[in-house]
């Protein structure tokens, strides 16, 4: 047991002090800070100049109404009542004085508008102006027809539509829409974090082992402590490293949100409202995350011990990445159809359980025995993989060949056999 801790602490500290770890952590913190301040950064580059649009109003009543609307909506353009001719205005546009000219004329039906501009790519001014003019037109037309503005208002009011969960016989209600939305958010977060963790830290484990193999230091290591304890010391050492990194990110993100609580970013997280989820969902998230990591990490450690050169690690990453991508796809599908039989079945397949079963727990009310069964299968597979992994590890570290094949896997198992 003592040697387990030595390997664990060596794995942790040597990685923790490594340049790549420090750089990725700093990069991520920088990313969090950047993302948190994105609105400020965009503002920094934004053009503060208010563009002017010339208005030639031949109706003499529209300009004041339009300007009132524009001022009230706080837009990035202003109107100017232009007194010259249309030709003069057009020249002013070409000279850069205005972005465009709005020409308003009386008509049989109220009025018509023409917009002259040399910037056809930017459609936003036209869209906004059209919108305003439409409103003015409605007001004017209803006024003329003598309809009460209150009636108009009630016509435009959105219909009231509310979903209410029916109370179940046992007194509880089905998940409310907000709850499900929030759980979906958590499932997305979990998907991302598990995917990131498996690929990033799994790769670290495989690299570490392949490194020790290619430098042949492995032979000394396994002559001084048991391979199985070494393998798990590595897996757990890297897991602690990963948790440290994730913790650093969370702390960085927390301070980021704290410092901007009053701003939009803070509000966004309040709306997201992770606090609405029950504690058990959080517990499940942590449990499934850790078990999922352990399962994939054991797989990586096993395969890492089969290659003899660091270059070959990439080759064996692919099947595992395909597995986690499959889990990802199933969850994406399952998020909208959590009750489908396909999702139910896949939630018991250990490689998919961490994501798919978690999704079902979050979105549905499933009996506790189902959860217990899936966790049992998951834990069982980890143990089986761990036992096979340790044997492959023991045999594999003595094999030095090119590439990886199923044959190598068999040979590694054979090498570690007690008696054959």
């Amino acid at each position: 047991m003592h040697k387990f801790w030595i390997v664990l602490s060596q794995t942790y500290t040597s990685r923790f002090k490594s340049k790549s770890f420090i750089i990725t952590t700093l990069l991520f913190i920088a990313f969090v800070i950047l993302a948190g301040n994105l609105d400020r950064i965009i503002n920094l580059f934004a053009n503060d100049d208010v563009e002017n649009i010339a208005v030639i109003d031949e109706t003499d009543q529209l300009y004041s109404m339009l300007e009132e609307q524009v001022e009230w909506s706080e837009l990035d353009f202003a109107l100017e009542d232009y007194q010259g001719t249309l030709e003069q205005a057009e020249e002013a546009v070409l000279a850069g004085e205005f972005v465009g000219v709005l020409h308003l004329q009386s008509d049989d039906e109220l009025f018509l508008a023409e917009y002259y501009t040399d910037q056809l790519l930017n459609q936003s001014y036209q869209a906004q102006l059209t919108n305003f003019l439409q409103q003015i037109k409605v007001v004017m037309a209803t006024n003329e027809a003598g309809i009460d503005p209150a009636v108009i208002e009630s016509i435009y009011e959105p219909v009231s539509f509310e979903t209410v969960a029916i109370e179940l016989p046992d007194g509880t209600t089905a998940r409310s829409e907000e709850e499900i939305g929030v759980t979906r958010g958590l499932v997305y977060v979990m998907l991302f974090v598990l995917y990131f963790a498996v690929i990033n830290y799994g790769n670290m484990i495989a690299m570490d082992i392949a490194n020790e193999k290619s430098s042949r230091v492995m032979e000394i290591l396994i002559s001084s402590s048991a391979p199985i304890s070494q393998m798990f010391a590595k897996i757990i050492g890297i897991a602690l490293l990963g948790l440290t990194q994730i913790l650093i990110f969370i702390v960085a993100a927390y301070y980021m949100i704290q410092s901007r609580q009053s701003d939009f970013v803070g509000e966004f997280f309040e709306v997201f409202g992770f606090s609405d989820i029950s504690i058990s969902t959080y517990v499940y998230a942590v449990v499934f995350f850790l078990l999922g990591y352990l399962l994939y990490a054991t797989l990586f450690a096993m395969l890492g011990s089969l290659v003899s050169r660091v270059e070959d690690v990439g080759q064996l990453m692919t099947p595992i990445i395909l597995l986690i991508v499959a889990a990802f796809m199933i969850s994406m599908f399952g998020i909208n159809l959590p009750e489908s039989g396909f999702v139910t079945i896949t939630s018991y397949i250990p490689f998919f359980t961490p994501l798919v079963m978690f999704l079902r727990i979050g979105l549905l009310d499933i009996p506790i025995w189902e959860v217990a069964l899936s966790i049992a299968i998951l834990v069982g597979s980890i143990i089986i993989l761990g036992v096979i992994g340790a044997r492959v590890y023991r045999g594999g570290v003595l094999m030095y060949g090119r590439g990886v094949s199923l044959k190598d896997f068999k040979r590694a198992l054979q090498l570690s056999k007690k008696d054959q």
Binding site: Q10, M218, E219, I220, S223, S225, L398, Q414, K418
Partner: protein, 299 residues
């Protein structure tokens, strides 16, 4: 007590790496394993260390099998360099030493002693990949002996080293033996084995061809070498009874003779011919025995 290899066989599928090997390796001595590449030396060492399990037979040290409870008493220098290339010498030895049950403080004291002994004190803070091959081997050696093992296994410790470094490591091995360490090592440099080992075993295709103490092996080999330097032509000696072979040199020849008594009749024969500058009867070299036993193909 000794290290006992009792009727050990190791098969990898259909290939037999070690075939019914039985050897007793005495305590506090240096035991040499000789053999061509692929003779089964490394496999035998891996079985002694418990890295591989024998297909048949048993290996015991002081009456008990070697397992992970006893690895702190064993030192191992693998055939290939086995060090972390990116790690500093100090961190490297501290880690490997701790895995052999030592405390950090102790390790640093011992490490400094060894670095001084090998005249490489400047390398304490250097990365292993920056060192020359010879110096890497010294570090490798230190990692195998830092915890003062009682049983030391050295797989080809001197291969690829210059004569100065070979001498340095040899002296270190002899010093360890005098301190009471039991040492097993393999080599295909006959002269080194001859110089260091009291006991040895020559392996071929996984089988021990010859084993026992060096003196006994030489004595039971029977054949002796006779070196004669003379002014006249010595080719006629080849046809005398009891002469196995003759190798001519510019200043004389080397005869391999069946046993000591043959030398007397040869002495008489050359004495009559004229002036003899050198007439020396010598024990066969290990090289002679090896070549004879393993076959000309290896030489």
């Amino acid at each position: 007590m000794t290290l006992q290899i009792n009727r050990v066989t190791k098969r990898f599928g259909k290939f037999t790496a070690v075939d019914d090997l039985s050897i007793e390796i005495p305590e506090k001595q240096i035991f040499g394993f000789l053999g061509a590449n692929g003779a089964g030396k490394t496999t035998t060492f891996r079985m002694i260390l418990g890295l591989l399990d024998p297909t048949e037979g048993k290996i015991t040290w002081e009456g008990k099998p070697i397992n992970y409870d006893r690895t702190d008493e064993i030192g191992y220098l693998p055939e290939e360099r086995g060090l972390y290339p990116k790690l500093k010498v100090k961190d490297q030895i501290v880690y490997l030493g701790r895995l052999r049950g030592m405390e950090k403080k102790e390790i640093l004291v011992e490490l400094n002693k060894w670095l001084e002994r090998f005249n490489i004190t400047d390398y304490l803070e250097k990365k292993v990949e920056e060192l020359s091959k010879g110096n890497q081997q010294k570090i490798q050696f230190i990692s195998a002996v830092i915890h003062k093992p009682r049983l030391l296994i050295l797989d080809e410790p001197f291969s690829g080293l210059d004569p100065v470094n070979v001498e340095l490591l040899k002296n270190a091995v002899i010093a360890l033996k005098e301190e009471g360490t039991s040492i097993v090592f393999s080599s295909h440099q006959m002269s080194t084995v001859e110089e260091l080992c009291e006991y040895l075993c020559i392996m071929q295709h996984g089988k021990p061809i010859v084993h026992g103490s060096l003196k006994e092996i030489k004595r039971s080999f029977g054949k002796k070498n006779l070196f004669i330097h003379a002014d006249f032509d010595l080719t006629f000696l080849k046809d005398l009874p009891g002469v196995v072979s003759q190798k001519l040199f510019p200043e004389g020849c080397k005869l391999q003779i069946e046993d000591e008594s043959v030398s007397q009749s040869i002495l008489e024969a050359v004495h009559k011919k004229g002036f003899v500058r050198k007439f020396a009867l010598e024990e066969p070299s290990l090289n002679d025995i090896f070549i004879e036993k393993v076959g000309e193909s290896y030489a």
